[in-house]
């Protein structure tokens, strides 16, 4: 048994015996006195004794036991009071100590606040986005079910379902107890004061699969799935119900206007539920479409979600999907004119747990990297705290020696020193709460839709993001860690210091080697090296992310984003196909007339949208085998002729579209440079015919021009082959307006809105942004990661510098006598400076080398997050060496300078 423990128990035992002994003695004294008194009154000795016992009020043994117990209780209570008073005194003393050293206290508290607060915030985000169960019943039993197209080059792809293909899945699968389809869409709500809202087209079992039920009204009936032209009924989100309809309990059964049509509200959804898109305010049946859309086997637009049958594992479900996949393809194969029929053979299906798909892999990875980085910061913060406390304990040896000499017990002293560490840790904890709350407020204030959707992510990330809140468990955990560190590093020096010999501590202000000063110095040196190493790893990570962010920002997206305002106009289905060309012409001329607007263009999908509409291209003039089936994807964009000039997208060859290319004239398209290179590698595409499987261009259209590449996906994904058709020839209801302006684009926003409200009052205008902010949005996630990592690295570097500075200035203080002797023996200020500098830089060097090695190994995890930067980027590493060298030099220079100013006479005399 450890000494301390035995001592502790022996102490208790002895105390108890002492209490009993004292009580017994007091009782005996009383009995003796009483007997003597009674004897003096004339009773015989035996009678006197009997009477004395009688007056006790019971047998001697009983009374003794009673009194022993009450004496024990009394001692216990009094001991507690004493402890409490000691604690208050200790706290007072510790507080006074901390107040007397405001610099030390501030730095220590800030260190802790950054470490604990940062960790809590990042952990809260990681938990909300990655770990916390999705807010559906038994979310681990939900699976995303999808089709896997064949691909010529073996790259895995995932695509959605059409209604007919889904029916095959429904009929043949046995692993899911329920499956449903869903498809995100936008709706115009209301006639006057129309509002753009998000919603989902869903099949009837959608809510059942997710384990959600309407709080009012009824869920969709299963018969809705039976055919097209289903009755227009909808389920309304709780927030919309509250906001637009004042939570009217009589709304169910009434009719509202959506996209210019009448829909019956058949139920209200529970609060907080916004579908798998995370933003849905209405759910409408997927079968409220016409016969043609319903029967279209290759209109792959629906996502499917399945709930595993009890007892079925995700792997079994996945296996069955692989088996069913080819059968689903065979039910609706490519038709003869859809290129080579053999290419369809590779089609299959798959299923992945919903949880695994909640955020894109690179978001997951960058979150985990941030989590790791902030963990490093906490580690450095703890090391720094340990360093502070070690240094502080060392400077207090003299005080401790005095206290021991005047009779303080060791236990009492240890407690005194511990109280100080704990008080410091508590202050840090309180400050960290502020840091965490503030960081989380900042995170929450970020528009998750803009950030996540610009990355082409689904709604699960949004669901996670909206559930972000300060995680009290994380806070307690990190606080616990710091408290442990505070205790550990408060305790070790406390024990060490109190064990010291009294005499030398008293005799000598400076610490003699015998006192373990050396050991302490080495320990602190090692701590500083560890700090430097950790800081280097963070510097490397953030440097690499910063470099790749710079590369991303430097990417030419293919257009000129300056001075362009974008607005989305929700025309919905109300605008008939035939009236679109006239509408577009009028719209453009009205907007072009606005002061400050230099040119106007329309497109269905903006650049950097995280992907746009696409289909396959075919070549009516060629043999079908000439190009491999589904390896011929092409983006389809509907634009007005003026759009290219508005965004400064160059025409490379041929001609642009003109207003004369309209319905009824021969069909023409423009293609992007990438499309020209990929599909006409060895010939001139101009004048050639291409079939674009959308907008009635299957049979073929003539390529009349080649324009520059534009990035429609993410900023760091290469441009893909694109094609452009005209709003006048292939009308489309989706419209985004682009205004090039003479000055600040936002200055014309109000005028543009007014003009649109006057011209098209029933179509809401939304998503008004400058093109520049769209570009910024596309780099938001990279920017976010790089900024946070940079921040962490800066904090880490600052902490490491403080560590070096602290140790070196302490060393100078301790070695004043030695330095004094050296100077008395002829060393000059420069020699002394060099001595200290070499020592400090040596620590930084060792730590730096270790850190560089670790960074080299650890930054591999960043590989998939980096853009055009290798994890071993020499420039980044050179910069780190430079920064670290400079920082270490500064941190050492000040103490070295102070050392060189030591007055030898003064230094020697002080010790004498």
């Amino acid at each position: 048994m450890p000494d301390g423990v035995r001592r502790f128990f022996r102490l208790r035992l002895r105390r108890r015996d002492l209490i009993h002994e004292a009580m017994d003695e007091e009782l005996q004294f009383h009995l003796d006195e009483r007997t003597a008194q009674l004897a003096a009154q004339g009773l015989s000795p035996t009678d006197a004794q009997a009477e004395a016992i009688r007056r006790l009020g019971g047998s001697v043994a009983d009374v003794r036991n009673q009194l022993r117990r009450s004496a024990e209780r009394k001692e216990r209570t009094m001991a507690w009071h004493e402890h409490f008073e000691d604690l208050v005194a200790d706290l007072r003393y510790a507080a006074r100590g901390l107040i007397r050293r405001p610099a030390f206290t501030t730095v220590a508290v800030l260190t802790l606040a950054a470490g604990i607060g940062g960790n809590t915030a990042i952990f809260s985000a990681v938990d909300a986005l990655l770990f916390r169960p999705l807010p559906f019943a038994a979310p681990d039993r939900l699976m995303d079910v999808y089709l896997v197209p064949s691909s010529a080059d073996g790259t895995p792809g995932v695509t959605q379902w059409s209604w007919p293909k889904y029916q095959v899945l429904l009929r043949d699968q046995t692993v899911f107890s329920d499956i449903a389809l869903h498809f995100d869409a936008n709706f115009n709500l209301g006639q006057t004061n129309a509002e753009r809202i998000n919603g989902e087209f869903v099949s009837s079992r959608y809510l059942t699969v997710l384990g959600v039920a309407p709080i009012q009204g009824a869920d969709f009936s299963a018969t809705l799935d039976n055919g097209p032209n289903a009755p227009r009924t909808l389920l309304m989100g709780n927030a919309l119900w509250q906001r637009r309809f004042g939570a009217d309990p009589g709304l169910v059964g009434r009719t509202i206007e959506l996209n210019g049509q009448q829909w019956v509200v058949q139920g209200i959804l529970p609060p907080g539920f916004r579908g798998l898109s995370g933003t849905a305010e209405v759910l409408v049946p997927a079968t409220t479409v016409d016969e043609e859309t319903y029967r279209e086997a290759w209109s792959l637009m629906y996502s499917a979600i399945g709930r595993l049958r009890p007892g079925v594992t995700p792997e079994e479900a996945e296996a069955q999907m692989r088996i069913l996949g080819p059968r689903i393809y065979e039910a609706y194969p490519f038709t003869a004119n859809m290129l080579s029929t053999t290419e369809g053979k590779g089609w299959t299906a798959g299923a992945t747990s919903l949880d695994a798909r909640r955020v894109a892999p690179e978001v997951r990875r960058s979150l985990l990297v941030l989590f790791g980085a902030v963990g490093f910061v906490l580690l450095i913060a703890c090391v720094n705290l340990a360093n502070f406390l070690l240094g502080r304990a060392a400077t207090r040896r003299r005080e401790i020696a005095i206290r021991l000499a005047i009779g303080s017990s060791r236990g009492r002293l240890v407690r005194l020193l511990l109280t100080e560490s704990l008080l410091l840790a508590s202050l840090g904890g309180a400050a960290s709460l502020l840091v965490a709350a503030w960081s989380i407020a900042v995170l929450r204030a970020m528009n998750p839709l803009a950030t996540l959707q610009s990355q082409g992510l689904g709604g699960l990330g949004v669901i996670g993001f909206t559930s972000l809140h300060l995680d009290i468990h994380a806070l307690l955990f990190t606080f616990g860690v710091t408290l442990f560190v505070g205790l550990l590093f408060g305790l070790v020096p406390a024990l060490q210091a109190t064990r010291a010999d009294l005499v030398p501590g008293l005799k000598d202000g400076a610490v003699p080697a015998r006192l373990g000063g050396m050991r302490l110095g080495v320990g602190r040196g090692a701590l500083v090296m560890a700090e430097v190493a950790l800081a280097v790893v963070l510097l490397a990570g953030s440097g690499l992310m910063l470099r790749s962010l710079m590369k991303r920002i430097g990417v030419d997206p293919g257009f000129d984003d300056r001075s362009v305002l974008t607005l989305r106009l929700a025309t919905g289905e109300a605008l008939g196909r035939d009236s679109i060309p006239g509408f577009v012409t009028e719209l453009q001329s009205r907007l072009a007339a606005l002061p400050g607007v230099t040119s106007v263009g329309l497109a269905d999908c903006p650049p950097l949208n995280g992907g746009c509409n696409g289909t396959i291209i075919s070549f009516p003039d060629r043999e079908a085998t000439a190009v491999k089936g589904l390896s011929t994807p092409i983006g389809v964009h509907t634009v007005t002729p003026e759009w290219f000039a508005t965004l400064h997208i160059p025409l490379l060859r041929g001609r642009l579209l003109t207003p004369a290319d309209r319905i009824g004239t021969s069909k023409v398209i423009l293609i992007s440079e990438s499309a020209a290179q990929k599909y006409w590698p060895n010939e001139d595409p101009l004048g050639k015919r291409a079939g674009i499987w959308q907008g009635g261009f299957q049979e073929g259209a003539t390529v009349v021009g080649i324009v520059g590449d534009v990035r429609y996906g993410t900023i760091d994904s290469l441009p893909v082959p694109d094609s452009y058709m005209s709003f006048y020839q292939a009308p489309r209801g989706r419209m985004m307006i682009f205004l090039r302006t003479a000055g600040d684009p936002l200055a014309v926003a109000a005028a543009a809105r007014r003009e649109l409200a006057a011209f098209a009052p029933s179509y809401p205008v939304y998503d008004v942004q400058t093109m520049t902010s769209r570009v910024a949005g596309a780099t938001a996630q990279a920017r976010f990661s790089a900024t946070l990592l940079g921040l962490f690295a800066a904090v880490a570097l600052a902490l490491a510098v403080m560590g070096i500075y602290g140790v070196m200035s302490f060393a100078v203080l301790q070695r004043q006598r030695e330095l004094g002797i050296r100077m008395a023996l002829g060393a000059d200020g420069r020699d002394v400076r060099r001595l200290i500098l070499v020592e400090g830089m040596g620590m930084a060097l060792v730590g730096g080398v270790i850190g560089l090695g670790a960074a080299f190994a650890l930054t591999r995890v960043l590989n998939s997050l980096l853009f055009e930067v290798a994890p071993s980027d020499p420039l980044t590493y050179a910069a780190i060496v430079l920064v670290l060298g400079l920082a270490a030099f500064l941190a050492t220079w000040l103490p070295a300078r102070r050392a060189s100013l030591v007055d030898p006479v003064e230094a020697l005399r002080r010790d004498g």
């Binding site: 007091e26 004294f29 009383h30 006195e33 007056r55 006790l56 009020g57 009374v63 009450s70």
Partner: protein, 111 residues
């Protein structure tokens, strides 16, 4: 002689404090002080008195210290703390008012 009176709850503490207000006493001295003042009308078991002393020490009304008697024997001497003095003042006033009220009622001759 009438049967000895038993004490109303809380009264013993006040009496002990009163005894100590004249200076520190050990347990037996407190007992005899009470017996002499009450000329035997009050009876307190000696055991109960010591329990009362513990309770009062716990509540910081009195303080105990080892001392030596005139006969050179070790004994625990109890003395009053400032808190005890305050307690004595307030509680004895309350007791007196209580007794006067009771007496006034019992002595009243009108219906």
């Amino acid at each position: 002689m009438a049967a000895p009176l038993s004490l109303i709850k809380g009264t013993l503490d006040v009496l002990v404090l009163k005894a100590l207000s004249w200076g520190p006493k050990h347990g037996f001295e407190v007992t005899t002080w009470l017996e002499e003042r009450s000329t035997g009308d009050l009876t307190v078991d000696d055991g109960a008195l010591y329990q009362a002393l513990h309770r009062m020490e716990e509540r910081d009304l009195i303080r105990a210290e080892w001392g030596v008697t005139a006969n050179n024997r070790r004994a625990r001497y109890y003395s009053m703390t400032p808190a005890g003095r305050a307690h004595l003042r307030s509680e004895s006033a309350a007791l007196v008012r209580y007794a006067e009220t009771v007496v006034a009622i019992l002595a009243s001759r009108t219906a």
